[in-house]
Symmetry: C2
Subunit: 312 residues, 2 copies
């Protein structure tokens, strides 16, 4: 039997964090400490699912010395991976931390047609026994803009439901294959369609998505689903690092989809797991104790589509 949940990261990254005293532009800055970690949204989702004990495999495209480091770091963390090697160099993201974060985002590697075909072949194999697949993150140069609808077609053929977490054109074109769930955040949604977020979410639903879950940062989630509309709110504001909170929500939505969990519980899981990601010191990690503690206290209420803006 294959894995239950497959995550696809077409633009995997090595996330590097530099601690400096105070970053000075146009000067030489001594880095006090370096931390590296495999990243990219799908990789973060796989890591969270693995931490919760789910049977997951991370696939996608990874290349060069950076790609090797991404895979080695996943092996060290015990997260199963089945990445397809590409000739180009996977990107690094550098976060320079002083009192706040300055981020440098490398472009992804140029992906060749044969490499993209190899990933599709790999995904077909992994979908055999899967119960959910997560398509998450930006597209590297060389991939078609409708890459997520091509992968969605493979999932549909294998009858595996899709969670899609993308932005811009990659999201818009990804709707074509009717993903089970899309998870834009409020800002991405505002960039894609006009009007208030609930209207925008309904528009994504008309565009093809079966369910739309909008993340509203510390205010929780709002969902437009075939079973109804809900708002899920955390019991308290959690202080910490919001990077990776969206990926934790996607992990919960994928697990709920794979297990057939009813929507209100699924959303409560997603809100509690997001908060557990904010509480964890490392971006991309979750504090499992915080998750267990908050989970019973998340409030889920039916939302009235006429009330307007889903995010407070």
């Amino acid at each position: 039997v294959g894995p239950v949940i497959v995550t696809v990261t077409v633009n995997a990254a090595l996330d590097v964090t530099y601690r400096v005293d105070d970053l000075v532009k146009h000067a030489s800055n001594r880095v006090r400490a370096v931390a590296t970690r495999a990243g990219g949204k799908g990789v973060n989702v796989a890591r969270v699912l693995h931490a919760l004990g789910h049977d997951v495999v991370a696939t996608g495209l990874a290349g060069g010395a950076t790609g090797e480091q991404i895979r080695a770091e996943l092996h060290a963390a015990g997260v199963p991976e089945a990445f397809v090697a590409v000739a180009g160099q996977s990107r690094r993201t550098i976060t320079v931390v002083d009192s706040d974060a300055t981020v440098l985002l490398e472009p992804g590697p140029q992906v060749a047609a044969g490499e993209w075909a190899a990933l599709q072949g790999r995904l077909e194999e992994l979908l055999t026994d899967a119960r959910a697949v997560v398509l998450s993150g930006s597209l590297p140069p060389g991939l078609p803009v409708d890459a997520y609808s091509e992968l969605g077609r493979l999932a549909a053929r294998a009858r595996v439901p899709v969670v899609l977490d993308a932005a811009g054109d990659a999201l818009a074109r990804g709707l074509e294959e009717s993903p089970a769930v899309v998870k834009p955040n409020a800002a991405e949604l505002a960039g894609l369609t006009a009007g208030d977020p609930l209207t925008a979410a309904r528009e994504l639903q008309r565009g093809g998505a079966q369910a739309v879950v909008v993340s509203c940062g510390p205010d929780g989630l709002v969902a437009v689903t075939p079973d109804g509309c809900w708002r899920a709110v955390p019991p308290a504001r959690i202080r910490g690092n919001p990077t990776g909170a969206g990926d934790a929500a996607v992990a919960a939505l994928a697990a709920g989809l794979a297990g057939g969990t009813p929507w209100p519980q699924r959303l409560a899981d997603a809100v509690a797991l997001s908060a557990a990601a904010v509480a964890a010191p490392l971006a991309g990690a979750v504090d499992v104790d915080v998750y267990r503690q908050l989970r019973p206290r998340v409030q889920v209420a039916e939302a009235d589509p006429r009330e307007g803006a889903p995010c407070r």
Copy 2:
């Protein structure tokens, strides 16, 4: 027969250049282009010597995925290398270029006692047929502060003369084994001893150095040697990138030492090669045409030690 010139880089680096439109602190910045290159002062010296057709080998300490990239890049450039592998990760230096350069310097890897001993063994082998050895750059964590005098002792035993290019304590302690040439720049010299640079150079000579060559940026070089004192001045100010100009001067001084070239010619070579490094667009490279063109026009004059400051 072994190589004629050996360069030692105990803290090799992968030099990464990021082009951005305008680096914004505490924001997300998209990197337009990434260029990587093996670096560290000794590596740059080896590259220049190789470009001029000298028989050179680059050794030192390199580790982890970054160490592999450093070696792979030297192989691609055709520069012979005999680095000793260390368990730690070699450092990266990141230069973020917009209208000017913002530099992020990672610390070097922690070097274990056995790794340091392995480098000494490697150097002993390489010194068998060598006619000059270059000890260049900063010391990584774990090396003794007198590392350059320990390596200098091996060179002395093999009767191979040393060019030492270091700063601070690594330079001060490196004088103990009477290197043939030390090449501080004017700023490093000012940090080490009081008084005007010529007085300071003479103090380094009393400290053990047989000759002291002070680089004065666009003003050329001043040398205090057993054969006399000289000032060497380029025919014109060269515009460009001064990074690597000091390493090019060291390459010329090492080649002159290996070949027994008289001091005035050696200094003229060093000034012309420094200018050729400034003229080359990539840091660590030299424009060989500029070198050949400037070389006959460098002015070398005996300097009067009583005249005071050697840099204008």
